[in-house]
Symmetry: D2
Subunit: 355 residues, 4 copies
Amino acid sequence: MSSTYGEMIRLTIFGQSHSPAIGMTLEGIPAGSSIDMEKLERFLARRAPGRNAWSTPRAEADRPEFVAGLLGNVTCGVPLTAIIRNTDTRSGDYEELKKKPRPGHADLTAQYKYHGFQDHAGGGHFSGRMTAPLCIAGGICRQLLEKEGVKIMARIAVIGDVEDESAFLTSVEENEFPVVSPEKGILMQQRIEQAREEGDSIGGIIECVVTGLPVGLGDPMFHGMENRIAQAVFAIPAVKGLEFGAGFAAARMRGSEHNDPFRIRDGKIVTETNHAGGILGGITDGMPICFRAAVKPTPSIAKSQQSVDLEAMKETSLEIRGRHDPCIVPRAVPCMEAAAALAVYDAFLAYKAQQ
Amino acid sequence: MSSTYGEMIRLTIFGQSHSPAIGMTLEGIPAGSSIDMEKLERFLARRAPGRNAWSTPRAEADRPEFVAGLLGNVTCGVPLTAIIRNTDTRSGDYEELKKKPRPGHADLTAQYKYHGFQDHAGGGHFSGRMTAPLCIAGGICRQLLEKEGVKIMARIAVIGDVEDESAFLTSVEENEFPVVSPEKGILMQQRIEQAREEGDSIGGIIECVVTGLPVGLGDPMFHGMENRIAQAVFAIPAVKGLEFGAGFAAARMRGSEHNDPFRIRDGKIVTETNHAGGILGGITDGMPICFRAAVKPTPSIAKSQQSVDLEAMKETSLEIRGRHDPCIVPRAVPCMEAAAALAVYDAFLAYKAQQ
Amino acid sequence: MSSTYGEMIRLTIFGQSHSPAIGMTLEGIPAGSSIDMEKLERFLARRAPGRNAWSTPRAEADRPEFVAGLLGNVTCGVPLTAIIRNTDTRSGDYEELKKKPRPGHADLTAQYKYHGFQDHAGGGHFSGRMTAPLCIAGGICRQLLEKEGVKIMARIAVIGDVEDESAFLTSVEENEFPVVSPEKGILMQQRIEQAREEGDSIGGIIECVVTGLPVGLGDPMFHGMENRIAQAVFAIPAVKGLEFGAGFAAARMRGSEHNDPFRIRDGKIVTETNHAGGILGGITDGMPICFRAAVKPTPSIAKSQQSVDLEAMKETSLEIRGRHDPCIVPRAVPCMEAAAALAVYDAFLAYKAQQ
Amino acid sequence: MSSTYGEMIRLTIFGQSHSPAIGMTLEGIPAGSSIDMEKLERFLARRAPGRNAWSTPRAEADRPEFVAGLLGNVTCGVPLTAIIRNTDTRSGDYEELKKKPRPGHADLTAQYKYHGFQDHAGGGHFSGRMTAPLCIAGGICRQLLEKEGVKIMARIAVIGDVEDESAFLTSVEENEFPVVSPEKGILMQQRIEQAREEGDSIGGIIECVVTGLPVGLGDPMFHGMENRIAQAVFAIPAVKGLEFGAGFAAARMRGSEHNDPFRIRDGKIVTETNHAGGILGGITDGMPICFRAAVKPTPSIAKSQQSVDLEAMKETSLEIRGRHDPCIVPRAVPCMEAAAALAVYDAFLAYKAQQ
């Protein structure tokens, strides 16, 4: 099933950009888990649109209403469902797009897949807006993991040609622009601003680390931590690449350089380096999980583009109106944490079941 | 479940490096599908060990015995099971490794996960040998796809600092060393040989393309083609990174550059470029699926390494004996095709079900 | 996952008797399926409470709001979600039951399972009210099947010692009391009325038939039609038994009597009798699927009963106030159709995928 | 997937009556679980053919070879696979049946489902022989449960018109004919013998109890203990009915009679009666799970029957040769225990994960 994730937990995401509501059902959260709603709302606010210069002016409260699964703020063991009403919808903006698919978007492929019955308004189920329910679910998993000493933190690593400084093991979520180096952050924002002024958009890379994990999470083969995280992370619309630890750089390395030597520190086995990104054979080794995801430039741009007229079956140009982020990367940072949290919490529950 | 893959098909892989047998069960293949056994054996031969200078001298026939699901060579609709007997096993080689985990291997994490009950001989279920049943299943899917006009072809794109030439849309499977440029192939083999002479190993990148696909394969969110392929590809032991289309390069691109303009050619909608790697919103757009996977250098090297003695809980050095590939990349090429074939065939059956 | 059903479709049911809302998400319905909302509401009305003498006076509109997955009344291919607001809730009625579990209910077992965190009000997720979302999903599947010529019809076969007449292959859904024989219906209603007057309740048997099915639906072993229907039907709270075709009567039969002889009628293979209930080896043979389900008497009765005080851990008596059906069987009739429709439609989509 | 069962465990059964081998893969058994092979073989011997007067003379050793997942007799955490070679196969016996389907068998429905590509020899994947791998998996789960104090015991409750005595809470597995009352057992055997002499067969009912279960196993709705057991039990070829506790008798009961009053005994909550069969709301209440399954008479009988000639599409008579049980019930007794063990052990692992 397409919009469903997990083994010990099961997340189902529903809704379209302009349907009455969007939302999610999350099963498998242990009864008696307390949800800090204020913390969850702060987390959701990090991806919410309309907050600053580099995001779409569409403003939605995006406050989830929990309609099932809670007594007060405590889970009662059965499916947890939250919905967000879609209030600020302007379907009219998208009418033209029904017959002129936007390059880089799912307009055309949704048309193929659903034989013309797709909800095209605002991208329908393919809209970046569907990351809101992802963040509800992931935000819950993230705070439950935090109680177990597991922290999940992401930052912007790259925007265009600007790279953040490399050390990254503490949270930058308090920063409005989530980078380690304020100077690099300013440069990145300049790149975004420049893209916007030119009616264009720009891509980037997000880095995510997970610390405090027990050893032994994950499974061999198709359910290793890499597989699990990949299945979650590629659900974020613009992600086109993913690497763990040394990742693609490993291609140029020797084994003697890439292998992380084992050491003993304070009676525990650690590795001197972390080229493996905390995962060996799909299973956590106790070092931080570390991954990087490539985010493509927002496909919706103001500049005129080449499209096709599906009715006339001829080439045509397209100018996209409506409200769009010149760079989706900053708002994708909490989405990355949410995706990681889902994958890690699911594996964590499986791990606890085996103790 | 860890060793299980698929929705419309379901693959289960079983076995350990030194168990009586390894094998696979594949459910969901339509009744009446004819399997070309000779073709399958040629496919398996491409990953088999002991064939040439750059692979381990462990020689196994690796001829699968189909014990269920066939009448002659035709599927009868029920689970298809094949086993390969493990004959050339030398468990003694691995005795020391029970207490001294190999850096870069799953020895330590398996010990954590299975509380000391893991089968450590030869890496157990984490052995690269488990890609043989993966290739049986993937090889079958690949030939069934071929009958539908879908081709899956991989090549070595990078070994160390040597990059193959870029154009890649035709099969190089007949080449003993699967690259486009023979010159670059020779350079790559030199890098591998050099690593071996130094008791070391080397990594690389594999590129895979899928051509002839219908439009409309894949699902939104967690079951997009990227998610599906990622879940399969990260099952190959040494893979640490994966990118589709422009992938990580997209981070530096503008939307106007990255968006693939739609064109009409011969009455069909195509894109001028293929930065999307044939996938928009998780769904195929009719252009070739194109992905690249980073393969880390073989962790088993002859050079002395830093490990720990798990009994004494002190640091120690480790010298790995036994037979190992100085570079796993060439043998991983068919594995990549197999993983892609599983993912694509599974999505293909779902697609056919929706027509 | 507990509240999830299906393979080609996936139903997730959420909510508690007194949570803000109850509802369901149904994935896998083909894009372009038109839902007749009026028909669906008529179907839901058949299980709605408060309609007549033999059901609880709790009155709820029970009109589902579809918040996702539709464009107008047509599915757009993505998850379909409907919610029903809980408006007429009186949690106070149930306060005492938190410490005094009701015999025959899930109060005690929910307490065990959820370690005291369960939502006990109105039975929480275990309430018969959760059959409303089951009927939304099943009602949709049922009308989609009807377009394919497949009809699903249930009736009351037994209440207490009164048995309906045996022939049953046409719908009785228009009857307020769904039986074939009006005389037997009156007798059954008398039994129910009598039970109510005595502060008691009464059980019964529901029979369900599915006609117009293609041959070849279902799978061997764990996913035969019996298995599929059983998994759905036992989700209806009070069901304690299920039999197909001759069912338990087969125990007393000889093979020569039980085996349904094959015949040819109008060029098609039929069976002379239908002791198999339309299913051989888990797969439909073209005869009507026929099953009967035993429904226990409503556990909530006015009579004083033996319970325990969980705080004091001593025996105590319990008198249940609140609103309860003296016989759940009439309202369970559409639930049985809904459960059957889910199972059959799921198998039907799998069948279509194999053509 | 048809031949796959379970959530925390996953069983896959493969093979056909006359394929090179049959077998099973069982995932999810915790690493370090010790399997008593002698005990398992004794368990398998209870369903093996050819042992006595009332079963088919086909003699197979049916000794499973474990090819993966074990170190010695201890699970190493990865998939556990066992195969049984098919040695005593006589495909010739079945040639005629390819065009003349046997009434009461899956011959015709398999033909429909697999479009003529099915393996018809010996019933293929639909053969009662496929309960051998079911018993391997179930036998393992059963002995692992026994270590946790959980016992699973079945007996013959009814053959034809003969009913065993009703009290049943201790094992009768040592009895060659598994009933409580030796007198009733003799009568039952007479009924079977009589059926055989007449070239006919006879059905029966099997009762199964599970004792020593913790409270709180199972889930609401689609994954209650009834649903789980039903999905497993209906995988046994001849089962056509299933009831829990009072089952169908509940239809005639009043709530005041059916509700099991809570009592306190030795500081624990018990119920005075067990009409619920140990399950309330799908969840165990600590009383024994108790269920009864109706087994139809063996469809293969010597008597001439009405079939159809599929090639000529005309009615014809059929005389079945080959070796068949006049009553499958005795050999189905351990199968019932195996099916129950799978369902209970799966729920047990989920339960342990929640503690």
